[in-house]
Symmetry: C2
Subunit: 477 residues, 2 copies
């Protein structure tokens, strides 16, 4: 009998696959007796054991009947000819997936491949000493962690450390039971949408806003309402008359403008939420990174009505691939969040959590944080100095002594000219990123989101010099 072995994996697997294929496509008809193992072994010049193993496997899978010795016969398997459909309708996914298709663009722009200086926002700075320090923490944690423990809320030692940290650094008083450990801010936004938002429910966003929150909320089917921000953050007087389900805000350092929500506005926002009986999601994505006084106390710390869902992240402070963040849940929603987390992915990985708890307890986390803050401050100053020297009055910086990025507003640029600038910069190996995608509506002015986290001070100096050249070029163009 003709059998084509495909040469992948062990010989008995190849033989099993070949025989299966022949049986399924009818080349070996049902009822046929397979050749005795010795015979087939000789024919294929392989060991008899190999053939025996293959037959045994086929028998186990119901392809052949009969016992070794009494002969092996191909089972009566009823195979049917394939039905032919056009796939269009079955491939139509859920409404959720359809919305994901609308917001997600999977082609990484060719433009930003292999740039020398990419001022992209999002990646935390890498502390070169962190790899080994963290590796030691992980190994240490692995040694004593109960590997099977699955606490939906998160490891209690980490929740405890998180509470101490929040009280100390963010003025947030929380108990470990209020804390939920999640796989990054993105999951926090998702769980919040899951727990609070039905398809079509209105949700308020800042304009401009964090694009991944926008995308996640759209995917969930939220009806987005963008509310203007100014130098004091969200303009609370312009909150909609109709009550939204949820308000997503970044009070300590508005993303991306950097505006700090003023105390009066904080009180107004809390009052609005109370009046309209809606919830506030406070994304404190970089509250750790203020370079002047102490970080501002979180909105949550002023919340007496227990309407603020507070989110902070460890990934931004440590490294992007860590995927750990934390939420402070209002008491009324606690069991809903726990249920959504548990049914969603049960719990976060246990060893990371144990290692991080220990890292925080030992003060390694704070040391790392101080170091990161110092370095980020230097990078930030390099960008500002570079802009002053090379971009001069052609850009306007909205400036808060905080964070991992800056916004440079371009004077006298419209959208096409901004795109031209970005394209030109890419030719110089400089990665610039427009503000426009961070708006729900068309913005009235053009700007650039400058993430300075990923480049060293010297790289940033050079990047700013290049930026100046690009602006010069655009004036000539």
């Amino acid at each position: 009998m003709y059998l084509q072995l495909d040469g992948r994996g062990p010989l008995y697997d190849q033989l099993t696959r070949a025989l299966k294929a022949s049986i399924l496509d009818g080349r070996i008809a049902a009822g046929t007796q397979l050749p005795p193992t010795r015979e087939l072994a000789q024919e294929l010049e392989i060991s008899r054991t190999t053939v025996l193993t293959a037959y045994e496997q086929l028998r186990a899978e119901g392809f052949i009947d009969g016992r070794v010795g009494s002969g092996s016969f191909v089972s009566q398997l009823q195979t049917r000819p394939p039905v032919h459909h056009d796939r269009t309708d079955i491939d139509a996914p859920s409404r959720y997936a359809q919305r994901v298709r609308e917001v997600c663009n999977w082609d990484i722009p060719r433009l930003h491949r292999g740039l020398r200086y990419n001022l992209e926002y999002g990646y935390p700075m890498i502390n070169p000493t962190l790899n080994n320090a963290w590796g030691r923490e992980l190994a240490r944690a692995a040694a004593y962690t109960r590997l099977n423990s699955l606490e939906a809320a998160g490891l209690s030692v980490l929740r405890k450390q998180t509470c101490d940290y929040l009280a100390r650094r963010r003025g947030v008083q929380a108990q470990p039971d209020d804390v939920l450990i999640v796989s990054g801010t993105q999951q926090a936004i998702n769980l919040t949408a899951r727990v609070l938002v039905n398809e079509g429910d209105p949700v308020v966003l800042e304009e401009p806003h964090y694009f991944l929150a926008h995308q996640a909320l759209v995917a969930h089917g939220a009806r987005l309402v963008a509310v203007r921000t100014d130098e004091h953050g969200l303009v609370c007087d312009e909150l909609p008359a109709q009550a939204p389900r949820l308000i997503y805000v970044t009070p300590s350092h508005h993303f991306p403008s950097g505006a700090v929500l003023s105390m009066q506005r904080r009180l107004d926002l809390l009052h609005y939420a109370e009046q309209h009986q809606c919830w506030i999601l406070e994304d404190d994505y970089d509250g750790e990174f203020r370079y002047d006084a102490h970080p501002l106390a979180a909105l949550r710390s002023l919340d007496e009505q227990d309407r603020v869902i507070y989110v902070g992240t460890f990934s931004k402070v440590m490294f992007g691939g860590l995927r750990l963040a934390y939420m402070v849940m209002p008491a009324a929603l606690r069991s809903d969040f726990l249920g959504a987390k548990y049914l969603g992915d049960m719990a976060c990985p246990v060893i990371e959590q144990a290692a991080l708890a220990r890292f925080m307890e030992d003060g390694g986390f704070e040391r790392h944080l101080r170091m990161a803050r110092k370095e980020l401050k230097a990078r930030r100053e390099a960008v500002i100095a570079g802009l002053k020297e090379h971009a001069r009055d052609r850009v306007e910086i909205t400036d808060t002594p905080a964070g991992m990025h800056l916004v440079a507003w371009l004077h006298g640029y419209d959208a096409p000219r901004c795109q031209a600038l970005i394209a030109h910069a890419a030719e110089y190996g400089l990665g610039l990123h427009p503000m426009a995608p961070l708006y729900l509506h068309t913005p009235e002015r053009q700007g650039l989101l400058l993430g300075y986290c990923g480049l060293s001070v010297n790289e940033l100096r050079e990047a700013m010099r290049l930026f100046g050249q690009c602006l010069d070029h655009m004036e000539l163009a």
Copy 2:
């Protein structure tokens, strides 16, 4: 001025909190000049620096105006009296959360606290040598991993290793681009529901079935249709005439009965899916653990229409707290799954993935697997021997040489009597778990789900002896 310091954290924080509280509740009126720092320092018997720091913080947060020296005045903050609502309606969460409330029960049954022998299903066996071996892998991986890398699909080296493993052990031919690394089977089930199921869409489950799949699908709003299973697994002739969106099956080892889906039924199921243009979610949750021949080839390996979403888990093989599993995605759904994963939590933690890829490449994973299989086989045999000796003809075991659990059907038990048995066993320190919750409809017979993963051979012997005593007791009762 009267200030109550709460003694939590640094002194300046306590002072800041105390002043804030007084300002917010109006005890210190807007416009009031705060006492000079030196004066307040003397009054409270604390250092002047502490007071200066507190004032600085209050100024930064907009609680007071004016510069140090010229005096500090309480800002004109408009605070409003709290509105009073009954919270009932705002606390009504999304429909998703309401369904979660229906399926999730958060009171861990007192019954199963502190049992000597808990035959609970779900926790993988712990290999005592794994802690250190895995710790070394993590430390090693941390040293060379790009800590910021965020691949939504999962680390490519791990996807490559997964493909090799699937081809070698499960007969599944997949390319790294077909693979999505997820945070456990639970997330795989969720993403599948997300991508395919709208509220109200029919989804087919086996009866009985894996309870967490049931709960997750209910939470998503799926309309569940339970189809009977027998000793050959899902009874395909009884699949509904109306096309479901999705069919959730456990073909290689039906959960919980252990039945292996026969080859004919596999072909019938694939044909049904093709005819009705629906998708199949193949949960191969313990395909690794067969103690006779090689594991059966996966349903996915027979799937020529690319309708099977295959899910396998690393957590079951390694340890529960790992939270890593993998999906093989049909080409038509690939970008939808990637989008849902990315917007859901962006990606799985990077170091774990790197460590696991290395562990698989070095053969440590296979070694661990062999060892686990050997040990589980011994435990399984201990349970069966124990049941034969102590439970005798009072129970019937559905027996496949596979997996991490058994089902023991109880002769002549109704639901209340089964509960009485479980309650009595708990008094003996023996944790028994009923089959009833694994059914959508009321089952016609009572049984117990015996998970033997968490106990040693000797513990299992003792547990079975106790079980026998409990059965004796029930006969006298």
